[in-house]
Point group: D2
Chain length 306, copies 4
């Protein structure tokens, strides 16, 4: 397992201007906030980075700027989120040119593949690039497609992938993946995206986490990791409970689609704590307004972050 890709690696949000353009100066501030907050890596152009709403030029701009600003202090993992391998490879090669440290690819989508085609998808990507590859397991955005445990471990043993970001919400599946990975010699770095139960996931053997709420409160996640590594589990649980109290911002937003809920809540909270100047989203998604916005801000204050 590549130790660089363990610990807390938040999916970095992409700030926007009022005109709907990527705000690179705000991105710099987010990056500093995360590195100073103790994060072990940066995962850009993931779902929380609103990757589906960015065109190729914007994706390149985010990649180049993050690499420049991170300046080697922590590794930069870049999402190459496209429907199939051929398209993923085009994006991954561009990220490679721009200095990415690793590529993160989901399974095929819009496409309706067989299990064997999913494995070949990752093999084709690996064969075409010169960077470590993470598999991103996110059924909720892939029409329910779940990456199989045995396939992931097999791809790890083949050297095709170096890790998994598990956003499947299937904790039994994750524990079984941890056990199978261990039995295979631990080829994979297993990162949970289940950011409300990171304490339990670290207890059962996760190598790290990809917490979206880490954009708001990186320090608590860094403390959680420290407590877990010290086997101070009751302390870890307390920190996680504190995180979860803040994470309620996600559930405080009503009447929106999913892309108008969690990420806008994160950005609104980041504005409240002073990291961002605004909470603009990629068009046509709107920033939170009215009661939704207020509820998020109230929670941020209630948990003492601002």
């Amino acid at each position: 397992m590549d130790k660089r890709f363990t610990g807390m690696i938040p999916p970095v949000v992409t700030p926007f201007t009022a005109e709907g353009e990527v705000d690179l100066e705000a991105l710099d501030r987010v990056i500093e906030h995360l590195i100073e907050g103790g994060m072990n890596g940066l995962f850009i152009l993931g779902s929380s980075g609103e990757v589906a709403y960015l065109n190729d030029a914007q994706r390149d701009a985010v990649t180049a700027r993050t690499v420049a600003t991170a300046a080697g202090r922590v590794p930069v993992l870049v999402g190459a989120i496209e429907t199939t391998a051929k398209r993923v490879i085009d994006r991954a090669l561009r990220a490679q040119e721009l200095g990415a440290d690793a590529i993160v690819a989901a399974g095929p989508f819009y496409a309706l593949p067989s299990a064997a085609e999913v494995a070949d998808h990752f093999r084709a990507i690996h064969a075409a690039i010169d960077l470590p590859l993470f598999a991103y397991d996110v059924p909720v955005r892939l029409g329910g497609l779940k990456l199989g445990r045995d396939m992931l471990v097999e791809l790890g043993k083949e050297g095709v992938i170096v890790g998994v970001k598990d956003s499947s919400g299937d904790d039994v599946g994750f524990r079984r993946l941890v056990a199978a990975n261990e039995a295979a010699g631990h080829p994979l770095s297993l990162l949970t995206g289940h950011e409300c139960v990171v304490d339990g996931m670290l207890l059962l053997g996760a190598d790290g986490a990809v917490p979206g709420y880490g954009n708001v409160d990186p320090r608590s996640y860094a403390q959680l990791l420290e407590a877990a590594r010290a086997h101070e589990w009751d302390k870890a649980r307390e920190i996680q409970d504190r995180i979860c109290a803040g994470f309620e911002i996600v559930f405080a937003v009503k009447g929106q689609g999913a892309d108008g809920t969690g990420i806008p809540a994160f950005k609104t909270a980041m504005e409240a704590v002073g990291v961002l100047d605004n909470a603009y989203m990629a068009p046509p998604v709107k920033a939170l307004e009215g009661e939704n916005r207020q509820r998020v801000i109230d929670i941020v204050h209630a948990v003492g972050l601002a």
Copy 2:
């Protein structure tokens, strides 16, 4: 309603070489086969065109070649299948430059939008292009996202879209859409993708169909349309039954993912009837082999197409 976009408009398959490249000469033959078979338009770069597996250069090549070969004999509708509006627009503008007659766009995917964001998605695309826009309703590839009846008719009345390709399989929804469209002055051309019940859909008021199996047997669909327009419904049903007997090729393929079932069956049948020289698919999807291939060929012979 724009009369150009009614009748039988098949989703054109994309032929490939053994090396996995788009086979433009074979594409020419497919186009001639469809126009000679009486089709009223061509819909390229849809799901049946394996659009999700093609990179931008390949999509451009298919568009340019189809426009050139069709040479104005029938309109060419071009799929701009991308996750969100900003990306759809990039693709649509390119298709526009290359001579497309209309653009076909699905709702957002990978993204998880609200209903209002879906409507704004189509409005943004329309505002950015100078071509008629079709909405493509295909929940099975969009994580279950169904385009709402009221939204579609409203977008029709606004002039945002000129029609709908309905691949939702929800025939009650389609009938309600037909009725609401009629009540609104028939702004939309409503095309069913439910290719096994086109007789019933024409009876209830569809303006046409987008039959994937039309790649194999365009003449029968042309005859079906003719019978329906003459109100010869028993004849229409007989033709549809004959089509359905051939359409069983899709269900004859076992043990594959969805993208390895219907389209490979179409291509194998097209090879059997002499339109294609092979049945290659976009990598990593494989052409049918063994029993799957044989069952398809047997059906093609049994129904007298070859």
Copy 3:
């Protein structure tokens, strides 16, 4: 095929008193309304009969009264809706004692069976009873369980079932079932529950329909059947369109669960046309109130039923 079980066989609603008890006198009026309206059979204790909300004593009361009131004028099909075969059989034998003409059973639910177990479920029921058995295909209430085409035709050939009530909404599946049933010598009576597209389903070969809205407007369904049998398809479509205009009552109800939508709308419309004195539902489901109730009544008036 048993000709008794063809044509229009509505799923009879169960009237209730204000106290939540079954209203048997009102049930008599419903039965007369349906028989006078030209219906070919009565299907009691189905989903539209709120079977899931009735205990065994209530189910027995509805069965006995319907058999007595129908008095042999039309056959009475009785739903035996229970989780598994052993429980279905208990109910079916009771219905048999009470004079049922046929039993209607769904696949297993709450249970999570294999395909083979589903077939054995129907075989076990058939073996235990002395009445014709219908299979009821209703995935929306069975956690998505769809009865397979090949299994249904096989069970028909074995003599296990005499027909299918298809409420799956899968019209391509239904057409394939019609074709396979025909190829097997037509052992099954195939009834569509897709009440808004009965014209198209009759065109493609359905043996009849099970229309919930037939409780409101049986005459139109009788006319639709007559037109279809006379091959007057344009007339059939016109009648179906008129039915669909009235069926909009189902979509006029907002903010309810599914069981608080369609059936309450039917009952409210039946009150508006004078068949029922009220629109009470099985507790805890509430009768429609306020705007929901008014919208239903307005539609009933608009289509000229009251």
Copy 4:
């Protein structure tokens, strides 16, 4: 919170004879095995008890026998699994007569209720019985119906329910339920059915668990609870990992429906460890055979249970 209903409360399997009848003598042995194994209560007639396959007489027999055999050593919770409140109440009153200590009821099924109707469902049951009521959250068997966090805590505050058995597999939802329950004064006993991550669930505040695999290996779950209560979390994890190695029996079964997988695996393992003489299932579900059976036995031996 009622302390009687905390700790390890396994869902007791129902043994069968070769003829498909409930085997009450074998049930006695299971009960002794569980009580001697340190279990804190017995949950009979749940999904693992194959409740959906038992008729009323069989359910009564299982209840009476369990009450008699347990003889007050541990509380007996009885599943009253029926489609709606009226039917649940009939069953719950019978269980009450037979000496049950608490009733466990799922939300409505086959029915398609609104959220308000689900709450009223539990209120109606509570009002009709004189026993503590547990809500059983099992979306996989209820067509996806998930019991809402706020509703559950509200029902707890009202005194309608005393606890929840959470088999939803939504661990974030469970943590949020734990937090909301705590904020409300802890009215509910929250038991996880997520038997592979009980360590993490106890860490985050679960009051206990309902482990199906506890039928096979109750001692390990008792040890896990003891370790957790002593805040020995690394030890708890080790025990849980050992449990999970054995729980792989569930995943070792291939080619079956869900009801032919987990419970048959439990029974086969119970036979291997000597608690049962056979592994018969309720008809038409079959006991494991051939490779499926052997794989389960091999795992049982590999983990040292037999």
